[in-house]
Assembly symmetry: C2
Homo-oligomer: 414 residues x 2
């Protein structure tokens, strides 16, 4: 019989756009013994998590809870619960994850209208606004931060127009939540999906979402209760067009997260412990301070990369603060560089997808991975690896520029 | 600002039919730092997990991997991937989770034919076989162990008939896997769903599944590749009836778990660590020894419960070895008993659903919770709590009977 060895993962500095390193406090939280799903001690932890999620999403919404799956389960829960077959849905696409929204919306039976922007750029608000006015969709879905291209779409003004045409406004903030402001209420966003494994520094496996009364009234109109939970056996309403997923049915998930605690799935205890601890860390740091930390490390990383003579990819006006995309220099094998970084320095950076495959590297500065130490170690390692690949650059400049950005000076011992 | 305190869950003896206590080795595995999802060290752990799942499912299937969600996400992944709208699906129902299979199949657009059995009993194989021959469904889905009623359905002979009529045979083994034999290949089951939080003693949040070539050929015929991953932008096949979920699309999950590692979700790292460790524990104990341990503790629990004068619920011929259902005695408030057990003894037992709500208690003996210590502590506490509720019983008999069943004798010191 094959022997499976003790788990013993190598130490890693994870500088990808997710998953990133997990705060040791979050790792420790997952090692606590579990509680039963309806143990009052556990449901109290669920309620606390909802309270903290409201602060994270900057919302007064009643509903803010995690879906038990990775980020795209949250996206699909929102879209499957809000889209009825035949609904017109508008998706402005400016990278891979816009395509994902489109693909999920189509599988929900939507008639999807897309706008497409060349990768590396984002939309002018006016382009989105006029498309909404022209197509009058039932729902507009857009990505806030596109990790595939490292761009961030401004969202100001879209929510107002959605209300004018009675459309729901859904934002995929998987890659920005916890690292960049996601002002759910101020921006009039009806439903937001966040990610755990990026700026929250919690492992993948949960998708925090929030939605308001406008979204709730749509999904409540499609509600169904499981036959096996009814006392009388019940009967289906033949006119109902139920949500096509049971697992991702927000009307059922909402009942599970409500004081009624109507049985649905078995809440993922250890992941809930992890999310709760990750949210405590966010609130202890403070949202503003956390966003400032992400910006400061971005500035230093950019300074270092440019001082090394490397070129940033994409329109700088819409650069995502937590992802920095670098053009792979002519003649350099991007995958060989990545392998040398991982295998010998224990540092992971990312490649990209589709049309950008082999053309750019992506460096994430997210959550617990977003630290001065990690930025400095990564710049030093990248320089050495590029030199070892025969790339010409002035050694030393990258780190010195980053150290300037951080305002580092040698200690003076009098 | 509200203060959220350090996580500090109270110690619990969890004797429900799931979630149950998690082995400390599994808890420790979750506290290890994470690896990136395409880090070769991590994909090697994914492959090892697949290898161990094949042993758990007693199968030579190529595909055996976890879906990143709780158990019902695995059920929905299998049904949504294998059922096309209009397909006739047969579901023999003998408890709550048969209703769940029905409800999910309907949401997949199936024309569902059900057989219903009074709760507390299971079907004669001949009833199922003749229904298959009569209705000639495209798919037959059945629950192996119904935790709602504590019954286990024999499965011998169903697989053969499914092949005769060219139906796929799907088994929900969420509550039995790891505690009772689930002989996937011998029983000719085409797809099986297991659960983590029951007899595997891993937290909820993953759903291990396996399926064979017959199932694979059905789902491969419905395959779709995400636009954002294609180099050329691609075009949809207009004749394709794609799987209605993206998140739970097994054709995409399979590519992610294949050597191609085609990007889909971000694998839930810490849960994968947990599942891998849980499977190592199962294989170290050995399947046969593990099943025997579950039977031995069941025998002692039953002996104790009956010696206390309590009556078991349901047909004993089809009792599920890992769940013991007890009729709540006349005049006793079942919820008050459960609360006293939880609040003062730190022991959790379960109530039930639908028609059995308030009528039975359910005691699980699953995985790490399935131990002599836990059975003895639970019997002692239950006796004391029943006495405190004014129930008449002969004190002491329950534990003595269980100790007899375990063959416990006082040590003789010469």
């Amino acid at each position: 019989m094959k022997a499976y060895r003790d788990l013993s993962p190598s130490p890693r500095t994870i500088m990808t756009p997710g998953p990133v390193e997990v705060d040791p406090r979050v790792l420790r939280a997952m090692s606590f013994p579990i509680l039963g799903q309806f143990d009052p001690e556990f449901t109290a932890l669920m309620n606390e998590t909802m309270g903290m999620l409201r602060q994270l999403f900057m919302t007064g919404n009643e509903w803010a809870f995690p879906v038990d799956g990775t980020s795209r389960s949250g996206i699909e829960a929102v879209l499957a619960s809000l889209i009825e077959p035949g609904d017109k849905v508008l998706v402005p696409i400016y990278g891979r994850f816009g395509h994902l929204l489109t693909e999920i919306a189509k599988r929900c039976g939507a008639e999807v209208v897309t706008l497409e922007k060349e990768w590396g750029f984002v939309f002018d608000i006016e382009e989105i606004v006029s498309a909404i006015k022209q197509h009058r969709p039932k729902l507009v879905a857009i990505v806030h931060g596109e990790t595939s291209t490292g761009r961030m779409q401004p969202l100001e003004g879209i929510g107002q127009v959605c209300r004018e045409v009675d459309a729901l406004f859904v934002v995929d903030a998987v890659a920005t939540i916890g690292g960049v402001e996601v002002a759910t209420d101020r921006l009039l966003i009806d439903a937001v999906i966040g990610g755990t494994q990026k700026c929250l520094s919690v492992p993948a496996g949960m998708a925090p979402i929030t939605y308001n009364k406008r979204a709730e009234s749509k999904l409540q109109g499609r509600k169904k209760i499981e036959r096996g939970l009814m006392l009388d056996g019940g009967e289906d309403d033949p006119l109902l067009r139920p949500i096509q997923s049971n697992y991702l049915d927000l009307s059922q998930l909402q009942d599970y997260w409500s004081p009624d605690r109507l049985n649905h799935h078995t809440e993922a205890t250890s992941m809930l412990y992890a999310l709760r601890e990750g949210l405590r860390l966010v609130l202890e740091e403070g949202l503003e301070a956390r966003f400032a930390r992400h910006r400061a490390n971005e500035v230093a990383l950019i300074a270092g990369v440019e001082a090394m003579g490397l070129r940033l990819y994409g329109d700088p006006a819409c650069k995502m603060p937590v992802v920095t995309c670098i053009e792979i220099p002519e003649g350099i094998d991007g995958e060989s560089v990545r392998s040398m970084l991982l295998d010998h320095f224990g540092i992971e950076i990312a490649s990209s997808f589709g049309p950008l495959k082999g053309k750019i590297w992506r460096i994430g500065t997210m959550g617990y991975s977003c630290s001065k130490r990690n930025v400095l170690l990564t710049l030093g390692a990248l320089e050495a690896v590029l030199l070892r690949h025969g790339h010409k650059l002035d050694a030393g400049l990258g780190l010195q520029a980053a150290m300037d950005a951080y305002g580092m000076n040698a200690a003076v011992h009098s």
